[in-house]
């Protein structure tokens, strides 16, 4: 073998060793959290135009910040300026200052750990706001004009809304865990947090800085081969063609139908989530409207 080939072989080896080290560091010892979610929080998506035989679940969580409209006035802001500053964003320019618009445009996101509350009281107010807007502004129910927002769909929202509600974020996962010690209620996940400047922070409020969860890391979780066969038939009902509805400017992340499967996930020592098992609910569950706590 030519000596010049040793280098690419060594680099390929190092890359795989690096991956192995990351996996061992995260999965060695007891996981930080083991929790059961369902289709409300992890939706089944088709990928690569269904060319792939692997099955992935996509995260679904409630927004951390109000949308750009004023319709969400009164809904809590999970990631405010203080949290953003703690994550490392430069928030030194007042959001109402003339130079603020350009100062806060195009700011790269920051990697952080986001705390999700599985039993948040804020979820109830978001659901109520969404239902009120859906009932009072029928013309604004769905920006895509897609059908499906009849009264039964509106009434079913509490049973279909994702329970993952962001409540806090920080750079230090251990410090967050100390603050949110209930491992059954609070799930801490790595994410990219993005800073957004709102022109009007709801109602008569002026400009404000809010943080939003740009995406969880990773954005999808692979269903292990042992559970794949059970879940695969459900892929036929492609959810990507039915976006979660927005009603009159209020966003509510929710499943278009009752949960069809439960997902047990473990979050490792370095807060990397992974699927342990997926169980199909047969027949699909019809949770009570008020069920928003952890399963």
């Amino acid at each position: 073998m030519r000596r010049v080939l040793l280098l690419p072989i060594a680099i390929a080896g190092l890359v795989n060793l690096g991956i192995a080290a990351l996996v061992v560091a995260d999965r060695g010892g007891e996981p930080d959290t083991v929790v059961t979610l369902d289709e409300r929080e992890l939706w089944l998506g088709g990928e690569m135009r269904d060319d792939s035989s692997a099955v992935r679940l996509h995260w679904r969580f409630q927004p951390a910040a109000p949308s750009r409209t004023t319709a969400e006035a009164g809904l809590p802001v999970a990631l405010g300026p203080r949290t953003l500053e703690a994550i490392g964003f430069d928030v030194s320019v007042r959001p109402g200052a003339p130079e603020a618009e350009k100062f806060y445009a195009g700011v790269p996101g920051r990697p952080a750990f986001v705390v999700f509350d599985l039993a948040s009281e804020a979820l109830a107010s978001r659901i109520a706001a969404w239902q009120a807007r859906a009932r009072s502004k029928p013309e604004g129910r769905d920006p895509a004009g897609a059908p499906g927002l009849d009264e039964s769909a509106i009434a079913a929202a509490p049973a279909r809304a994702s329970r993952l509600v962001p409540v806090d974020a920080g750079s230090d996962a251990e410090a967050l865990r100390l603050r949110y010690a209930d491992r059954k209620r609070y799930v801490i996940l790595p994410a990219v947090v993005r800073l957004r400047r709102l022109e009007r922070a709801g109602g008569a409020g002026g400009p404000a800085l809010v943080g939003e969860v740009g995406g969880l890391l990773p954005e999808t979780l692979l269903v292990p081969p042992s559970s794949r066969r059970a879940v695969e038939p459900l892929r036929a009902r492609d959810e990507t063609r039915r976006l979660p509805p927005h009603a009159g400017g209020v966003t509510l992340a929710q499943s278009p139908w009752p949960p069809r499967y439960r997902v047990e996930i473990a979050v490792g020592r370095r807060m990397r989530p992974r699927i342990l098992r997926v169980d199909v609910i047969n027949p699909p569950a019809q949770p009570d409207a008020g069920t928003t706590g952890p399963t």
Partner: protein, 358 residues
């Protein structure tokens, strides 16, 4: 039969064959004009020397010596590149098609072994000059397989995407390129390394590295690294590599400078975004003109070409800023055309000066 002193690289061999062909054609013209006439014996010795030399060059380097061979070779190279990319995509999609039904150990084993298996294929094929194109295809497959390796393991083990993988891709691609003198993979690896530098700069400030496109100045740093790398002597063995690196340098600089000249708020500089935009507009012209001058002086056509393109785009953007809103369209395009003709005239003068100096 004399001993041939053969060139050390395929490019050198092709240049020698081209010179022989030009010499033969010129000799025909000279003889037709009666300036010189070789004796039949001299003509025979010369022809037999060239025939033997061509044979040796073809046997060793598989070069083009006949009319019409070069276009065919160019087509062959393009087809090989398209073929390699298509085969790599096809194999990746095939893997995605079947990986769900494979046990996890098999999934991991396949993706870890794939880059090394493709590398072994490239090594075996590269031993024969006849399978040069096929060996190149396996080099591309090896690079693509490493990317697949990382992506699939990342999915299996729920790893967060990270800009650090760009370093792995870049280092692997560059090491492959030097092992097999593969310019396409050199370009791919160099772009990954430049992107990694930009991403590392964002990450060093606590930002999300993969958002490096939101801080284009980091790309300038990566491009600077490529420029330094291109200045390292490569010898005849890697001829063509510096030109690839210079082209990438110019392209990255052009993209970053043009972006910054329109979006000053993306700058690291603690300055007013409007002032940053104006500064980068000036920089774009200085960079383009300087690079054109260097390209002409050092005879780097790739640098001259990309610098001219940068100058043209920067000028057009500035003209749009100044005139588009109020000037009649016909006048706008007439002025833009006149400017292009002025640049052509300038380059023509430079060309004539170079001819006089020759």
């Amino acid at each position: 039969m004399p001993d041939f002193s053969l060139p050390g690289s395929q490019g050198g061999a092709q240049a020698r064959a081209d010179r022989i062909r030009a010499f033969e054609l010129e000799l025909e013209e000279v003889e037709r004009d009666g300036v010189l006439r070789l004796t039949p014996d001299e003509r025979l010795r010369l022809a037999s020397y060239h025939r033997a030399l061509r044979g040796a060059l073809v046997a060793r380097f598989d070069i083009d010596v006949l009319e019409g061979q070069k276009p065919a070779s160019l087509g062959l190279k393009l087809a090989a590149i398209v073929g390699a990319l298509a085969v790599a995509t096809g194999l990746a999609l095939f893997f995605f098609r079947i990986w769900g039904v494979l046990p996890m150990a098999a999934q991991v084993g396949i993706v870890v072994a794939a880059p090394l298996a493709a590398l072994a294929g490239a090594e075996v094929l590269s031993r024969s000059i006849r399978y040069r194109v096929a060996a190149g295809l396996f080099v591309v497959l090896s690079f693509a397989a490493l990317v697949l390796n990382v992506e699939v393991l990342g999915a299996i083990y729920s790893l967060a995407p990270s800009a650090t993988v760009l370093l792995g891709y870049g280092a692997f691609g560059v090491s492959l390129a030097y092992a097999y003198r593969h310019r396409l993979i050199l370009a791919a690896g160099a772009v990954c390394l430049a992107a990694w530098v930009a991403a590392a700069l964002v990450a060093s400030t606590g930002g999300w590295g993969l958002d490096f496109a939101m801080r284009p100045e980091g790309v300038l740093l990566g491009a600077g690294g490529l420029a330094l790398w291109s200045a390292v002597p490569h010898g005849v063995r890697y001829e063509g590599f510096p030109a690839v690196l210079r082209t990438l340098t110019m392209l990255l600089v052009a993209v970053a400078v043009l972006l910054m000249s329109r979006a000053g708020h993306l700058s690291y500089l603690p300055a007013d975004p409007d002032a940053v935009e104006v500064a980068y507009q000036i920089v774009s012209f200085i960079v383009a003109l300087t690079a054109m001058a260097i390209g002409i002086k050092r005879r780097w056509p790739e640098v001259t070409a990309t610098a001219t393109a940068l100058l043209a785009i920067a000028s057009l953007l500035k003209f749009v800023d100044w005139w588009w809103d109020w000037m009649p369209r016909y006048l706008f395009f007439l002025i833009a055309g006149a400017m292009a003709l002025a640049v052509s005239w300038l380059l023509q003068r430079v060309r004539r000066r170079l001819l006089k100096g020759a």
